[in-house]
Amino acid sequence: MASDAHTKGSGSTLGPRQYIQITIGLAVVTVLELIASYAGLGTVTLVTVLIVMSAVKFGVVVALFMHLRFESRVFTQMFMLGLILATAILIGLLALFWNDSTDALGPEELPPWEHHGH
């Protein structure tokens, strides 16, 4: 990307018409998410479906609204660095806590309504 892209107009070829289409697309995915969450899917299926759909929305906004797709790769590298590390630390922490055998407040000591999940 040439540097003058930033002053003379973003390097993207998107215009208002495309932006409207993207927004409608995002709204549709959000509605699908809502439908999925009320559809009575199994937990694993539901979580997978929801995560995939929100990842799609996330990706579309970053790539098209934030123009990352049309910008220098440095921006992508910088942002992915933070995103990947944050995800890795999140997964690492969840793995550590959800397998913690020393937790004195284990499920058997929880109130009855708490018997779910990990």
Partner: protein
């Protein structure tokens, strides 16, 4: 490049200097094995396993250290600036660099693999016949309960020799750490968690322990002792500890009992009386313990009187407040408590 005689002799000299230094360090290092709280003279099986690993790691570390220090010193001396010497301008050497990537890789694998096996052995479950003990950390003292044996004591853990003990670690307040260097590495006592550690002591005797996680004002004064007995001695100890407190004998002690069961009862338990407080240590057999205030003082009448006169003055931050007892009350209390064998 063939090394010159000068370079060889300077390298040998460097090696000699480093080796002599290392040898002196080693003497001091090794001498610590005779100290009372040494980590280098293990007397339990788990501590043995740790020690074996430690020895291996230390030797490898020592070799690496001697190597690096010798070469650094030797290079510094050999390649000192000399008139007319223009160093060759080299930017690196791929073969060498690969080699010294592989050397540390090999060393850490050599350390990691036995570490894994010791981790698996020592963090696994205790043998089925292990003695169960619940150790609870408090600011700043330890409570030891023996489930099923009706024994609760403080700051002194009694164990039979050659039988595994499974210590369940809890905390009442902040994070503490249970550590008896000669018997076991430390494991933290974390509120809301149930950690545990187990070991099998090999030898009878008294071993010093200490809280190893900073836990506030008197962290330094949170010490305890472990007594490892022959099995029959341990059984006798359990029998004496499981009994209720001796009723007071004599006027002085009777007066002391009266104070203890009123003033002290809110915080302390003296089994066999109406003192059932849960805040401070169980006093049922306090006179049988060797120390006061979590290992700070020898347990005798004099020290106990001083303690009762002003606990926070004796032990900074003590949760037990100054009860403003007069000299007579103190004398009575000491007379009573020192009879609670």
């Amino acid at each position: 490049m063939r090394p010159s005689p000068r370079a060889i002799s300077l390298t040998v000299l460097s090696l000699a200097i480093v080796l002599i230094t290392t040898w002196l360090i080693w003497i001091a290092w090794d001498a610590t094995a005779s100290d009372p709280m040494t980590t280098l003279a293990p007397l339990s099986d788990n501590a043995d396993a740790v020690q074996g690993l430690y020895n291996f790691v230390t030797i490898l570390a020592g070799i690496v250290m001697v190597g690096v220090l010798t070469l650094t010193l030797a290079f510094a001396v050999i390649f000192r600036e000399r008139a007319g010497h223009e160093p060759q301008q080299i930017h690196g050497n791929s073969r060498l660099e690969v080699l010294w990537t592989l050397i540390p890789v090999a060393i850490v694998i050599a350390i990691a693999l036995p570490s894994f096996s010791v981790i698996i052995d020592t963090t696994g479950d205790a043998p089925d016949d292990a003695l169960e003990v619940v150790a609870t950390g408090n600011q700043w003292w330890f409570e030891f309960e023996y489930p099923g044996l009706d024994v609760t004591t403080a700051n002194e853990l009694h164990l039979p020799v050659d039988r595994a003990v499974n210590v369940e670690l809890r905390s009442e307040d902040v994070i503490h750490s249970f550590w008896v260097p000669q018997l076991s590495g430390k494991v933290d006592m974390v509120p809301g968690h149930e950690n545990r550690l187990w070991f099998t002591p090999h030898e009878t005797g008294m071993f010093l322990g200490q809280c190893a996680e900073f836990c506030g004002t008197s962290h330094a004064n949170m010490r305890f002792r472990v007594f490892v007995h022959a099995p029959e001695d341990f059984d006798a100890w359990v029998a004496s500890q499981a009994a209720d407190a001796e009723p007071a004998q004599g006027d002085l002690a009777l007066a002391g009992e009266k104070i203890a069961t009123t003033l002290c009862a809110a915080c302390h338990t003296i089994r066999g009386t109406n003192a059932v407080g849960q805040i401070g240590p169980d006093l049922t057999h306090i006179a049988s313990r060797t120390t006061l205030a979590s290992g700070m003082f020898e347990n005798n009448s004099e020290n106990m009187a001083a303690w009762l006169a002003n606990p926070p003055g004796e032990k900074p931050g003590s949760i037990m407040p100054n009860l403003n007892l007069n000299a007579e009350q103190i004398e009575q209390l000491v007379a009573y408590l020192q009879d609670l064998k």
